[in-house]
Each structure stands twice: as structure tokens, then as C-alpha cells.
């Protein structure tokens, strides 16, 4: 059985890689920024909030990459990754 990933042309594979590594990077950057802004609102020190976010970041980044390699709908899921990243960044900037 041919896997979803083999049914892709070079463009879709490039998109998977871009969304995995680039989108994942934006997502964890936004996540760290958001945690650094939100947790202090409930009394966590800024440095502690960022330290926690950094420790958790890879537990987000790696699954995002795996999901982007595995998904049969790379365009939709890649856009979802980017949209989530944008939302986190905007939230962090808004606080």
C-alpha cells in the first residue's frame, strides 16, 4: 500500500517540511511567548514561566513535525499549524 506521503509531488513534500519545521518553529516561539505572558498573570515569575515553556516546547515541536509528515491532508493541517502559531503570537503581543 502506498502511503499518503508517497502520493505527493515535490511541492507537497516541500510544504510538509516547511510546515513541520518552519510552522513548528513559529508555533513553539509563540507558545513560549504566550506562556511567558500568561503565567505571570497568575503569579508565576516571568523567568519561571519561560523556563517551563522552554522545557515543554519540544513536546510540542516534535509531535507537530510527526503530524505534518503523517497527515493525509498536509495543506489543511499545515495551515492549521500556521494559524495556531499566529494566534499564539498575537495573544502574546496583546497581553
Amino acid at each position: 500500500m502506498a502511503g499518503a506521503i508517497q502520493q505527493n509531488g515535490p511541492g507537497r513534500i516541500a510544504w510538509r517540511l516547511l510546515a513541520a519545521f518552519g510552522g513548528g518553529y513559529a508555533l513553539v516561539s509563540g507558545f513560549v511567548a504566550m506562556m511567558g505572558q500568561v503565567l505571570p498573570l497568575i503569579g508565576v515569575a516571568r523567568g519561571e514561566a519561560v523556563a517551563l515553556a522552554l522545557m515543554l516546547a519540544l513536546f510540542i515541536y516534535v509531535p507537530v513535525c510527526l503530524m505534518m509528515f503523517a497527515t493525509p491532508r498536509p495543506w489543511r493541517d499545515g495551515l492549521a499549524v500556521l494559524a495556531t502559531a499566529a494566534a499564539l503570537i498575537l495573544l502574546a503581543r496583546a497581553i
Binding site: 499518503a4 513560549v32 519540544l58 509528515f69
Partner: protein
């Protein structure tokens, strides 16, 4: 119960194969250099014989060291001493000159005088930065490449777990006498599973160590973009004010050091010592003195405490200790640095690192073996991967051995075309490594065996040259308490023996390429 679909498994297989092929050589180089870095202080002593000092506990007066500084260092805005330990018996000393360049040397702990040292980057100056950045400094590109390789390694580990259906059973299966492809896969599975937690820990903690480099925006956002504030709050860094230009004598640094250690010990409940004594703006009224316990001997965690004193008055102006989450993060980072005083665990790390090298190398080899019958004679891509695999695995080991041989062969005043002795050693490494890729491209599979022979010869040559050019041959090193030198020699001999054995096995098993025969029957 949800089952893993064949399609998902196939996608994981795709990611596992291609990330491994594309980044495998970088991962191998990083793992290999990281493995050597575990014993960087010991290799430093081997490569810089003047630092082969038997460590003795002694009270070192930093007031006296500062009083005896050369004039340029005395006027420096940044003076740094690294407190000697059993593994670093000399006092580390570096300062920033007026032109901004850093000057690095080592001081004799008995006299405080600078040691006349062999000009070599050695392990701390070459293997360690290679491990972090592949020695590519431009725009931190090397750090980013290594970071990508670390992320890819985590992806490879997780995807590897998904693609193996019988992962526990595979742990107990190793059939070295089966066909090469089968034996390679068995060894890949075995080496992957045996050190799996270690292989997860290393890239994860490595990425965390460089989080400030990799995620500057995300970190800085909580501090309104002020990274100095982030460093100060998260790791106790202290930015000294600008020099005022008004001279002022420095209060006793030894007294400040005692006060810092007393504070930390009272907080921790056990004796805590400083590893780092830093004087900023020396001789100026804005001078500050900074102490940090970077590498505690008896704990995994890094840099728990920082104390900063006003230089002129000797008054404590900052006493930083890691908060709980910061301590958890520093523990993970400390588990990567392995600087704590635990020799059995250090050796376990060493063998874990070698296991990681085996895992990566057998992964790349299996990729080649799987495609050998179809592509070996026709595909340029196959031949490129083949040459990169051979050069990337046995080639880097040979280049490392050549680096050690060059260290013992080059005269103390060696220089060529404006390149100093340390630079020449590094050039030998690069040229040898490049040569191994070309050798592999031309000789293909035969290059494995020849490079193994060359590793064996170079490893033994390094041991013989150490005996010929220094007073510390193995017996003398053992009897004189120079364990670092003796063990480095012993590891070199063991490595040479292993390479010799591998070369012999490869010669015995040399057979026509399977692509020249009919395809092997399916396993």
C-alpha cells in the same frame, strides 16, 4: 483500541529514512565529538603536556593573582578565573584585551604564573565547539544546523518506535552471522533500544541549553525584548555598568569568595564552592566581582548560585539562586554537560555516546544495503550517500586520530602561511576528513577497510608519539598519578585494536558487490 494504521507507519518510515540519510552524517559528527567531549579535560592534558599537573587541594589567593596580572589584563573590563579541580588542575584564566579580543591561558596553581603551553585548541577548544557548532561560526549557522540535527534525532527516535512492530522482541535479536543487511539492521535496532533514554536526553537537553539562541523572540517577549533582563532573571547574569574612568582599588576578592561560599553553603546545607571568579571593570570604581558555582561536584544541576559584589566596597549586591523550574531546567542541562564528579556515570555516558554513533552509522549503512542491489552501479545519489557515509563515519574517526598525531608531531613553533600551530592541527583534521570522503568516493566499499587500518595505525602512532615527546608514557603516567594521560593512551590503544579487528573482518569478508551478482534472495 486504536491501531496504528499502515499508512501512518509508512509515513514514519519515510520520515525516518530521509531525515536519517540527509542529516545522519551531521548527527554522527555531533555524537562523536560529544562523546569525546565527555573526556575533554583529560584529552586536553594529553594534548597540552604542560597542564599535566597532579591536582592538590590548596587555597588560591585571587587577590595575589590579580595583583600579579600583566598590565594589559589589569586594565581589562573582563577578567575571568576558573577555579582548578581534579580534572582541570591548572587555573583557567582569560581576559578581554583593550581591542576586544579574548586572551586565554592557564596559570600554575602552585605559583600563579602563566604556564608556557603547547599551542593547541585541544579537546576543549576544538572537539567541544565542533560538537556545538561544527566550527561554523558565521551567523551562528553551525549552532542552527546542530539544532536541526538534534530536532531530527528526536523525530527519528519517535518515528523509529512507530515503524518497529516488535520492538521488545527486536531488542533480543542480533544475528551477526546473517547477511550483512540483516545483521546491520539487527545492530541498528539493538543499539537504538539499548540507549534509547540516553538518546532522547541528549538532543532534548542540548536544545534546551541553546534555547536562548534558538528561541530569542519567544523568550524575549516576556521581558519586553530585553534579553539582558531575561539572562539576569533566569540565570543570574549581571551586566556591569560602563567604566567611569575613575580608578578605585578592589576590595579583597578572597573575602568576597568566602562570603559567597558561606551564603550558598548555608542555603544548600552542604558545602558549595565557586567555580568561577570574574572581575568586571577591574581598577575602576564601577568594578564588580561575580562568583558562580557553574559545575557542582556532587550534583547534576548547573549554576545554582551566583553572587555579585561591588568591587570597591566588597558589599554583596546580588545573591541569585535558581528558582524551582529554573533548577529543573538546569538539572536537564547538567545531565547533558556531565561535569559532576561521578566517574562510573561518566564512562556510561561515554559508552552511551559510542552506542549512539553505532546506531546512526548502522542506520545509514542499512539505507545503503537496502538499495545496494538496485542502485549501487547506476545511481549517482547512491554513490554520494555511500561516500558521505564512509567519510562521515570512519573518516571523522581517522581525522580525529590525525589531529592527535599532528598535535604530537608539529614542532612548538610550527607555523605556515600565517597559520599558527593550533590552526595547523585543525587544518590537518579538515584535510584528513576531506581526504577520507574523496578516498571513499573513489574506492567505495574497499575504503571502509583501508580507513580502519589507517585509524589503527594513527591511534598507535599517537600513543607512541606521546611516549616519545613527553615524559609520560603509559607506565610513567600511571605511576605518577597522571590518570588522564594514561587513560587517554589506553583508550587510544583499545580504539586502535578495535579498528584493526574491524579492518581484518572487512578484509576476510570482502566479496564481490552484491550488485555485481544476482539479487540476493529476500530475507
Amino acid at each position: 483500541m486504536t491501531r496504528i494504521s499502515a499508512e501512518f507507519r509508512h509515513a514514519m518510515h519515510w520520515a525516518h529514512s530521509w531525515l536519517g540519510v540527509v542529516l545522519g552524517i551531521i548527527m554522527f559528527a555531533v555524537f562523536w565529538m560529544g562523546t569525546l567531549t565527555i573526556f575533554a579535560p583529560e584529552i586536553d592534558q594529553w594534548m597540552i603536556p604542560e597542564t599535566r599537573i597532579v591536582h592538590q587541594e590548596r587555597d588560591i589567593s585571587y587577590d595575589r593573582l590579580l595583583a600579579e596580572l600583566p598590565p594589559e589584563a589589569r586594565a581589562s573590563a573582563y577578567i575571568n578565573f576558573v577555579v582548578p579541580t581534579e580534572r582541570h588542575p591548572a587555573i583557567g584564566f582569560f581576559y578581554q584585551g583593550a581591542d576586544g579580543t579574548f586572551h586565554d591561558s592557564a596559570l600554575d596553581p602552585a605559583t600563579g604564573q602563566p604556564l608556557e603551553m603547547t599551542d593547541s585548541l585541544a579537546a576543549s577548544g576544538f572537539f567541544y565547539p565542533f560538537h556545538l557548532s561544527l566550527m561554523i561560526e558565521w551567523q551562528n549557522l553551525g549552532n542552527w544546523i546542530v539544532g536541526l540535527a538534534a530536532l531530527a534525532m528526536l523525530i527519528l527516535l519517535v518515528s523509529g518506535l512507530f515503524i518497529h512492530r516488535k520492538i521488545i522482541a527486536e531488542f533480543f535479536v542480533f544475528r551477526p552471522h546473517r547477511k550483512a543487511r540483516r545483521a546491520t539492521l539487527d545492530l541498528h535496532n539493538l543499539s537504538s533500544l539499548i540507549g534509547l533514554p540516553f538518546y532522547f536526553l541528549m538532543p532534548l537537553s542540548g536544545l534546551l541549553i541553546f534555547a536562548f539562541l534558538y528561541l530569542p523572540w519567544g523568550i524575549g517577549e516576556a521581558f519586553d525584548g530585553d534579553m539582558d533582563a531575561a539572562y539576569a532573571e533566569m540565570s543570574g547574569d549581571y551586566a556591569a555598568p560602563e567604566r567611569s574612568g575613575r580608578p578605585a582599588p578592589l576590595a579583597s576578592v578572597d573575602a568576597m569568595k568566602r562570603e559567597a561560599e558561606a551564603l550558598w553553603s548555608a542555603e544548600e546545607g552542604v558545602p558549595v564552592k565557586t567555580n568561577l571568579v570574574r572581575v568586571l571593570n577591574h581598577g575602576d570604581e564601577t568594578a564588580v566581582v561575580y562568583f558562580r558555582n557553574t559545575f557542582p561536584e556532587d550534583r547534576v544541576v548547573l549554576s545554582e548560585y551566583v553572587a555579585v559584589f561591588d568591587g570597591a566596597s566588597g558589599r554583596l549586591i546580588r545573591n541569585f539562586s535558581l528558582p524551582p523550574l529554573g533548577e529543573a531546567s538546569a538539572w536537564i542541562q547538567g545531565a547533558h554537560f556531565v561535569q559532576f564528579g561521578h566517574w562510573p556515570l561518566r564512562w556510561l555516558y561515554f559508552f552511551g555516546g559510542l552506542g549512539g554513533c553505532v546506531m546512526i552509522a548502522t542506520g545509514m549503512l542499512f539505507w545503503l544495503r537496502s538499495r545496494e542491489s538496485k542502485l549501487a552501479n547506476t545511481s549517482l545519489g547512491y554513490r554520494v550517500v555511500e561516500a558521505l557515509t564512509i567519510g562521515g563515519v570512519s573518516g571523522i574517526v581517522l581525522a580525529t586520530a590525525a589531529f592527535l598525531v599532528a598535535n604530537r608531531l608539529l614542532p612548538s613553533d610550527a607555523a605556515l602561511a600565517g597559520i599558527d600551530r593550533a590552526g595547523l592541527e585543525v587544518r590537518v583534521f579538515w584535510l584528513m576528513w576531506l581526504g577520507t570522503f574523496l578516498h571513499a568516493a573513489v574506492l567505495r566499499e574497499r575504503a571502509w577497510g583501508q580507513q580502519c587500518w589507517a585509524i589503527a595505525v594513527s591511534g598507535m602512532a599517537a600513543v607512541i608519539l606521546n611516549a616519545a615527546t613527553t615524559p609520560h608514557h603509559i607506565i610513567a603516567a600511571l605511576s605518577g598519578g597522571h590518570w588522564a594521560v594514561a587513560i587517554t593512551d589506553i583508550v587510544l590503544i583499545a580504539g586502535a585494536g578495535l579498528a584493526l579487528w574491524a579492518g581484518l573482518r572487512l578484509a576476510q569478508n570482502a566479496e564481490p558487490r552484491s550488485s555485481d551478482l544476482k539479487a540476493l534472495p529476500a530475507e
